[in-house]
Symmetry: C2
Subunit: 366 residues, 2 copies
């Protein structure tokens, strides 16, 4: 068990922003809100997966909706918490802990707040080991936790429980249309599971990974060292390109922020790169050849400070570094690639694992 104070919050928020690979929602609003909770006396207690008993009840948690909305529309502040209580009421159990849906952007922070509001700890783990745009892409569902029941709550006091769905994909669709009707963002509680299922399906110690990554970048900034180098060392990532954004093409379709980014600079694959994104960065091409593919992490950070740049904030002229990080092994199995590989996003491209540049954080913290 460890605790998140204001300083650790800063590190996790930065690290989760980087691991969000452009998505997961802007972490700024969630961070400011979490800081307020700490000032009002909240305690953010983090439980190592080994500390979770096999028969404990753990619930997945996170926000659903368009990141653009969650930045502009203030939340009520208890959406994830009320979704959790709604699911408890439906199941007739009390949860012993919360596990974040994803360790990406704001969605790594909101579950921690919900857990504190419920007076229970957050497990140091998550369901994506990065960010993905859709609910079915959590390892809990990929490895067999049933999609229902799942609960949703909004800022107007509205709450619902999805009690039966033939697949996690259908849960995603139903939750998505209700979220839109609810105003574009909502909180969810889902994948209620016992401790042994959590330990089998979750990606372990990803809050610690985010913390270590954030601390490394912050330390480098403090001593005026190269922040991108520090990021590479902390993540075992490789620098794919350092350069400038020369074009951003955006199209909005199916409720997602899709687009293509063109970069010019230098790197091991030459001086030009193209990156396709759908909320998150999905595929990086050099000379039309895919060199990094989802579910591997393609992180775009500012070259001067390794500050993560979410996809909606990408713009012409930004000086950025593109860092590739080999994903956690749980995302690279055949059953996972069917849900989170390039094909799941509509690409006729095979997953091509990145060569790690150094020891992966998943391994060093395992």
């Amino acid at each position: 068990m460890w605790e998140i104070d204001a300083d650790v919050l800063e590190s996790i928020s930065l690290g989760a922003g980087i691991l969000g690979t452009g998505g997961g929602g802007n972490p700024y609003v969630a961070k400011v809100w979490a800081r307020g909770e700490l000032e009002r006396g909240a305690r953010f207690q983090i439980l190592d997966p080994t500390e979770v008993s096999d028969d404990a009840w753990i619930v997945g948690s996170g926000g659903i909706g368009a990141p653009t909305v969650s930045v502009e529309k203030l939340r009520r502040g208890d959406e994830e918490y009320r979704a959790l209580r709604t699911l408890e009421g439906h199941l007739g159990v009390r949860f012993d802990g919360v596990v974040p849906m994803e360790v990406g952007g704001g969605n790594s922070i909101r579950p921690i707040i919900a857990a504190a509001q419920a007076g229970i700890p957050t497990v140091d783990a998550d369901g994506m080991g990065r960010a993905f745009p859709e609910l079915q892409m959590v390892t809990f569902f990929i490895y067999g936790v049933p999609p229902c029941p799942a609960a949703i709550a909004d800022d107007k006091g509205e709450e619902a429980v999805f009690t039966a769905a033939p697949s996690p994909q259908r849960l995603e669709r139903m939750a998505r249309v209700l979220t839109i009707e609810m105003g574009g963002t909502a909180g969810m509680a889902f994948a209620a599971m016992r401790g042994d299922e959590l330990k089998r399906t979750a990606i372990p110690r990803t809050l610690s990974v985010a913390r270590v990554v954030g601390e490394a970048v912050r330390a480098a900034r403090a001593r005026n060292a190269d922040a991108v180098d520090a990021l590479l060392a902390a993540t075992g990532g490789s620098l794919l390109l350092a350069g400038k954004i020369v074009d951003v093409e955006r199209r909005t379709g199916g409720g997602f922020a899709r687009g293509t980014l063109t970069l010019a600079g230098s790197g091991p694959y030459g001086g030009a790169m193209r990156i396709d994104f759908q909320n998150e960065n999905l595929i990086a091409y050099a000379d039309d050849v895919p060199i990094a593919t989802v579910p591997d992490l393609i992180c775009i950070v500012s070259t001067d400070a390794a500050e993560p740049i979410t996809t909606e904030l990408l713009r012409y002229g930004q000086r950025v570094s593109v860092v590739g990080i080999r994903c956690h092994p749980l995302l690279a199995t055949p059953e996972a690639l069917a849900v989170v590989g390039p094909g799941a996003f509509g690409y006729d491209v095979a997953y091509r694992p990145l060569d790690p540049g150094g020891p992966l954080p998943w391994t060093t913290l395992a």
Copy 2:
């Protein structure tokens, strides 16, 4: 307690088609399905409201979605039943009876089937005393039954429970978007209430009204008497116009079948009439003066056989009679008119109660 056999089903189906005022969904598919259930041994038991004990658990039931979809897309056949079971599971109670959402079209039959599937009776009552397009327009909600919890189930095995909504209007919106995602039709269970609440809020004996109206029209047809005269006598209605449809203007907006019908013929208000509809017939004008207004019933039937014509089947050249029926008093109170009066449908027109042509069925069966 009485039972619906194949002959009574025929009468109720016809009567409910007429009372549906153009909406409630085409009763044909539901009738054929109910006939099949009877042939397979189902028993449709009907309980008079006075036979419902004050502490019995009663649940509102009906289909939600576009009538056009429900005619073209076959249902799984247990949507309302599974919604009922889902709501029971959430509440932790067993329902003792079902009450139809509306006595209009197919939605007067589906709850009876669901009740038979659950092995419980249907109460001879409903929440509209006619058909209306939206969930908040049931007397249960108008007179204070809370909007949540309510359950929905579709043909793919999907089920959800709405556990909190600030108003019945918001329940309607959430259920509507989920219905669209579910493929355009679904079954609902809502307004779970005790027997005493049912007796306070429901419109009593409307299945009996539908039966009496249907029997009267069928008897007239059988003896080659004037079926419209028989309809007028059975409903206490007044003939507003007999003539021909000379124009139908349709526009689809906000998920409703809206439009305006123009008629030429003869009647107490002259030879020309215009009727605005939104799924149901809402306002009849003679010389631009409203002569019949929602929630009073404006029923369009064929002149030769008093066969009800639902709004989506209205077409140029049909010879029709327009019958106005004074609504049940529970729909004409200030709190009801706020939800089901002309203003609730966007009209700047006051409710103008029709003079009954004869004793109203609500009164004779009360």
